[in-house]
Amino acid sequence: MSMISLKIDGQLVEVESGTTILEAAKKINVNIPTLCHHEDLCVAGNCRVCVVEVKGRERLEASCSTPAPEGMEIWTNTARVRNARQDIVSLLVSEHNTQCTTCYRNTNCELQNLAAEYNVDGNRYLSVLKPGIKVDTSSWSIEKDDSKCIRCQRCVRTCAELQHVNALTASHKGKDMKISTFLDLPFNEVVCTNCGQCVNRCPTGALTERRYFNQVWEAIGDPTKHVVMNTAPSVRVALGEMLGYEVGHRVTGKMVTAMRKMGADSVLDTDFAADLTIIEEGNELLTRLKKVLVDKDQSVKLPMITSCSPGWVKFIEHMFPNHLGHLSTCKSPQQMFGTLSKTYYAEQKGIDPKDIVSVAIMPCAAKKYEANRPEMNDSGYRDIDAGLTTREFGLMIKQAGLDFKNLPDGAFDSIMGESTGAGVIFGATGGVMEAALRTAYAVVTGRSVPFENLNITAVRGTDGIREASIKVENCLPEWSFLEGVVLNVGVAHGLKNARIIMDQIAAGTSKYHFIEVMACPGGCIGGGGQPIPTNAEIRAKRTAAIYEEDMGKPIRMSHENPEIVKIYEEYLHEPLGHKSHKLLHTHYTPRNRY
């Protein structure tokens, strides 16, 4: 790469050729405002907020989409630039529903911030907000309010580039242009996986998750209800961002105390259910391997693919309905937890399950949909009553008036509150695979996986698809059929990569035995319900925090979790047994691709 030098606001900067003005400015900490630009997405250049003055050029240039040539002189802060930006923001505001005080994104809105920064005068342009825009509340997970849309198309690019779903498109043109689904149908009728990545990247309140926190407050306030809260592994490494901590700060102990102070009757851990998932899924994998390798059973499908990510599950149901046999039948940890909260937990605690309200706090938008899937009622009740995002949970903590930073650390309640490092790493891409390998290898050979500190680094990282091969040697007698077998595993995150994996399976060229797929880039730490904003740096810090949490756990293999041992002794009896099948496993529904 050849280097070029240019001048920004009189300051000389050297960058690789091809670098945009925006990137060059960032390098020397010159802040240029943006709206349609997002680091995870391709350049759009449609909002023009990032305009700058270039010496020798008559018109202003959009810095996000203009590569800097050698010797360019740029001014980012002239009267002309400021006026242009103010005009652009004013025009956007004139079409925007500026009921900011009633907006869910109030105080966390990029348009609001810019309007404040450029002191947009309300009388500059007439409001031309179209009347009668209805909010689409048809989906369990995502709400769309076109009156707040600035048509930056980040959502369209997210759905196309990161997820390869293309549920959203820019339809019509000119003043009628809008972000639409197919035929502008409601969200619940189109091919949408509910992953919520569009919500994470929406600069305004046009796309938000459907909120359920008021119902949760209601249940907490009802003395006849026993509210059980459980939190997913990745919530504890991101929640702090909403409450004054820097990115990557773990707040597990304070989070537990906060839930207790908010009035939850029991504060439990989804990580427990993650450990349980490993036992069930690990055994399912070993059973499938036996059926394929020993019994030559043609009906059993390999590779087996994880089913923890409800966005991914809906994706495969839509896009590859003929390949649902590859999905593990295990419910996700959230749903395992929900079912057990109204069966095992209710029994052990002597509480009538009809009085239990099971609340899941998740990094996810799709979990809301999953909780409402019609078949998710194996406990005889709705297994999960409400799925909240990390964002809703952070808001509830603020509403409760808690001084979060000064809360003492608390510990999860029992039962179903104990977890291992293996359960924790579910929150990062590759984590389920690593956790499963730790346990499966130990079950089959009686020894720990042959990696330093149990850290299977090959499946970690941010590459879209990662793989590892593990040779199984010196098996215990009952697993002797696996002797010498080289187990190939794959990990994919982001549905774009999931599609690559599935295309291989559909073509019959997949070399894997076991695959982990997470719908969201980075896994759950980058989930559609996590604090906004998101970018690669933020996701990397959250991931690092997840692995720190794992290293800090005294037990790091799911099958050694004492509460897991206990639940099999007292209640489930055996993995894949009768009770497990009834409560912890599920089935899938083929859906339309178009």
Partner: protein
């Protein structure tokens, strides 16, 4: 439906099974049946392995890619500023009276649809309109009945 699939396959043969074939396919469908139905869009999406929303986005962008049922003859009156200044409104009124429909509607016999269009490049000859692909220029309200009469009796 078989007809639509034939059109799609012809265009794919010529342009490849790629996204760039989308516009020719949509144009082909409109040429054959005047509009693109919802089912057609799904058909196209499946053939090109793209999302139905993508097809809708493109189909809704172009004024001439109609996605509602139109009459056999689609009249598109230019609404751009030059034609407007040259008396487009009088032409429109004459058409509405002659056809007994409003702008945006289709006659009961499904013979005519009356639409407005952006500039069709006939600014020097306005007011102008298209009937299907045939341009009519230097229009006067008096000429409208005779033009419509011609199509009625085709």
């Amino acid at each position: 439906m078989a007809e639509i699939e034939m059109i799609i396959n012809q265009k794919i043969e010529r342009y490849g099974r790629e996204r760039k074939a989308l516009l020719p396919i949509l144009q082909g469908i409109v040429a054959a049946k005047n509009y693109i139905s919802q089912d057609d869009m799904v058909c196209v999406a499946r053939a090109l392995d793209i999302s139905a929303a993508d097809v809708y986005g493109t189909a809704s962008f172009y004024s001439f890619l109609e996605n509602k049922v139109l009459g056999k003859y689609v009249i598109r009156v230019c609404r751009s500023i030059t034609c407007d200044m040259k008396g487009k409104n009088k032409i429109l009124k004459a058409l509405e009276e002659e056809l007994r429909i409003q702008l945006g509607e289709t006659t009961h016999d499904r013979l005519f649809s009356l639409e407005a269009t952006n500039c069709i490049g006939l600014c020097d000859m306005g007011p102008a309109m298209l009937i299907n692909e045939k341009p009519y220029t230097h229009l006067t309200a008096e000429r409208i009945p005779e033009i419509i009469f011609e199509y009625r009796n085709k």
